[in-house]
């Protein structure tokens, strides 16, 4: 247990550069996962109601590059 703590301390906390980098990378990763997670629930909760669920019905061949 102490070895793991020591490893975490040495890797992420000891040097300020590593600590700042950990904060930035953690914020970035959290932002993406949080956004993906809430969006997934949101789309599940509102399934069938949003434009993305209807779009395929009205899209014609050859113009799929735009919305």
């Amino acid at each position: 247990m102490a070895g793991v703590h020591d490893l975490i301390y040495r890797t992420f906390f000891k040097r300020n550069s590593a600590f700042v980098a950990t904060c930035f990378a953690g914020a970035f990763a959290f932002q993406i996962t949080f956004d993906l997670g809430t969006s997934a629930w949101w789309d599940y909760h509102n399934r069938g109601k949003q434009w993305k669920d209807l779009r395929a019905k009205y899209i014609q061949a050859g113009d799929s590059d735009e919305e």
Binding site: D35, T38, W42, H45, K49, Q50, W51, L54, I59, D63
Partner: protein, 324 residues
Amino acid sequence: MLSSAFPRLISRAGARVQPFSKARFTSSSQSTTSTPGFFGSKTAIASSTLLATGSLVWYNHLYGINLLPEASANSAGENGMHPTRQPFEHYGPFETFNHASIRRGYQVYREVCSACHSLDRIAWRNLVGVSHTVDEAKAMAEEVEYTDGPNDEGEMFQRPGKLADYMPAPYPNEEAARAGNGGGLPPDLSLIVKARHGAADYIYSLLTGYCDPPAGVKLAEGMNYNPYFPGGGIAMARVLFDGLVEYDDGTPATTSQMAKDVTVFLNWAAEPEHDQRKKMGLQALIILSTLTAISLYVKRFKWSYLKTRKIVYDPPKPARHGPL
């Protein structure tokens, strides 16, 4: 972990509440009872009573007595009936608009409402990604002629519409609109859902609420009776009848279906940010409540040792033979 963060809760669980004893305050209360001062005098009591009574009387004189039911010269008919709350699919903190309904509602607006009502804050581009594809929106815009210019010769010219153009208005100005509708001005519908009490419920109730005037109600020339409209007499006649439009997704075009669809469309027109706003609200609630919980925990954690410490005064022992 928990017991280290909330040590006082745990230490308090077995503690008994000490009865409130007056004896603790004998030394401090003595001084106040012996010298009452100005605030204990009869003059102060009388004047504060007078002030309180006077301000109450003055308030009630100005604004009426709030505790009594208010008598009003207006009847329910003159204020308009309150709309029934309808089960719209976008009611609720986490519900988006039903975009199929927006698309059908746009069709109803285009084929029925737009004969008299403008929608001048919505451009063709606003429909893209909401109810229509970009090609459909472009095609619809091109069917309308817009005046543009001036060109190199300084003349205005006609051109087909673009995505950036706003919805065409049925009348060039307010006077023309009034002249075409017997003196009544059809309001612009861009923000009508926000602009009416009852919002979407009101629009739906108004569109489906036309009926014969009850006995004794006299309507002015050219007016129609609608109990949801304040006063009852509305210049707009009932316009939605079963089968008036033909939906391209096969939904039966009943009066109530068309009224619901056009209401959802107008609600979107008034609140185009609606879906995004609710989604961001959900995310903000999650983040902010988590941060609140963390900060409360950290505060208690940091304060726990300050709150549980005991300070003991250990007086110096008197010297055996007294002070020197």
